[in-house]
Symmetry: C2
Subunit: 237 residues, 2 copies
């Protein structure tokens, strides 16, 4: 991996490209694990599992490239924030890749099981977090703080869909114990998509900071409601 870079500008552009590529791979992983889940396609799920390593490798490349830039170019102000942002964002993308791989592993298992529910919810959930991920990466690549701010405020529907799936799965489990294994996997899959959405939001926050030099407020228009759903569906329901 010998990067022939001619100028500092080119190096910064290359860093942007590395993050864009990493983000692109992660987007594809998220799209494909959702597709594999909904279509019960174990083969495609297996491919997703096998395609996580390149994302991890890119994280290492971004890290060492950033350290090199910091050492050799001693960047200031917005360039410095940009490089620090790249370090943080690569960590978020790597986790997103992990979650997609975990979804794919579970998709392989549920593809062989009789029960399959909540397909629409999962498609919608996957699409929303995918869009947030794409927008947050685009915001980074284009220095677009406004887009980042929109992503940051955008995940309320993600939580709603997640909650809907959670309720649906719990009722299926209660109706027939034979659904429990598959439903448990589906619950973890939904949680994984929700976490992917969380990381997209983190990326958006980081982009906003990198571009504007100021952090967003601590409280987003978001609540971690997943922990609060089940009482309605509990033994007393």
């Amino acid at each position: 991996m010998d990067h022939i870079v001619k100028s500092y500008e080119e190096e910064l552009r290359r860093l942007r490209e590395l993050i864009a590529r990493m983000g692109g791979l992660a987007e594809r992983q998220v799209a494909d694990c959702a597709y594999a889940l909904v279509r019960r396609d174990a083969e495609m799920a297996g491919e997703v599992v096998g395609r996580d390593a390149p994302i991890d490798a890119l994280e290492r490349e971004v890290d060492s490239f950033c350290v090199r830039l910091l050492a050799l170019r001693q960047p200031m102000a917005s360039d410095l924030r940009f490089i620090v942002a790249a370090l943080k964002i690569s960590q978020d993308i790597e986790r997103i890749g992990d979650y997609a791989r975990n979804v794919a592993k579970r998709a392989i298992i549920v593809s062989g099981q009789p029960f399959m529910g909540g397909v629409n919810g999962f498609q919608w959930l996957a699409q929303l977090v995918q869009r947030n991920l794409k927008d947050s990466i685009d915001a980074f690549v284009r220095d677009d703080a406004d887009l980042a701010e929109r992503v940051w405020a955008a995940d309320a529907p993600v939580d709603d869909i997640y909650t809907g799936i959670f309720r649906e799965m719990l009722t299926h489990m209660m109706e027939d114990p034979r659904n429990i294994t598959a439903c448990t996997h589906m619950l973890f899959i939904a949680k994984n998509f929700e976490r992917i959405g969380d990381h997209a939001t983190n990326i958006a926050e980081t982009v906003h900071y990198a571009v504007r030099g100021a952090v967003l407020p601590e409280d987003r228009p978001k609540a971690d409601i997943s922990a609060e759903v089940p009482p309605y569906l509990g033994p007393t329901a």
Copy 2:
């Protein structure tokens, strides 16, 4: 927050202290959410939920302190790696705080439900990930790459205990649908502890890189087996 720093050495020491404090808060959160869960202590769980904000605030402080150090001191070699490591580790600790808060939220719910199983497993799981977290932070504070490497290789038992809890909960759910709500929370709680362990491992990897300047091999002695358990316990079992 006016930090009166007299020298570069002092600034680096201060960064070490910030991470140590952040790690200490997270350790306490992990310990207390586990205690609250096992003792069915909703009050303590509520305190854990309320104590997450200071960890988030410390992450911001670490970030801006690191950016300031990078801008003003233009560090090289091991100092540069140390500062980049602090940036990454603060992100991991922040996530650990999120997971502990989520455990605490769920602990509040399950404290009011009749079913309570797997207590030993949870205690053991919490203790193990807590120790890995403590050791990984200690490794950072003391530049101890050997300790970091031990943590990195240490989480095989975490996976085993997690798998045991997973099996136990699935059987409880299958035996009596009234257990489903509580067991679902318990499964997510176990998953949260496992993720806390993952982040402790990440921290250890980062410390190793910071001290030695070389990354650990890609494959750890670890497998994400949680996705592969249920078939044994499925409808055909």
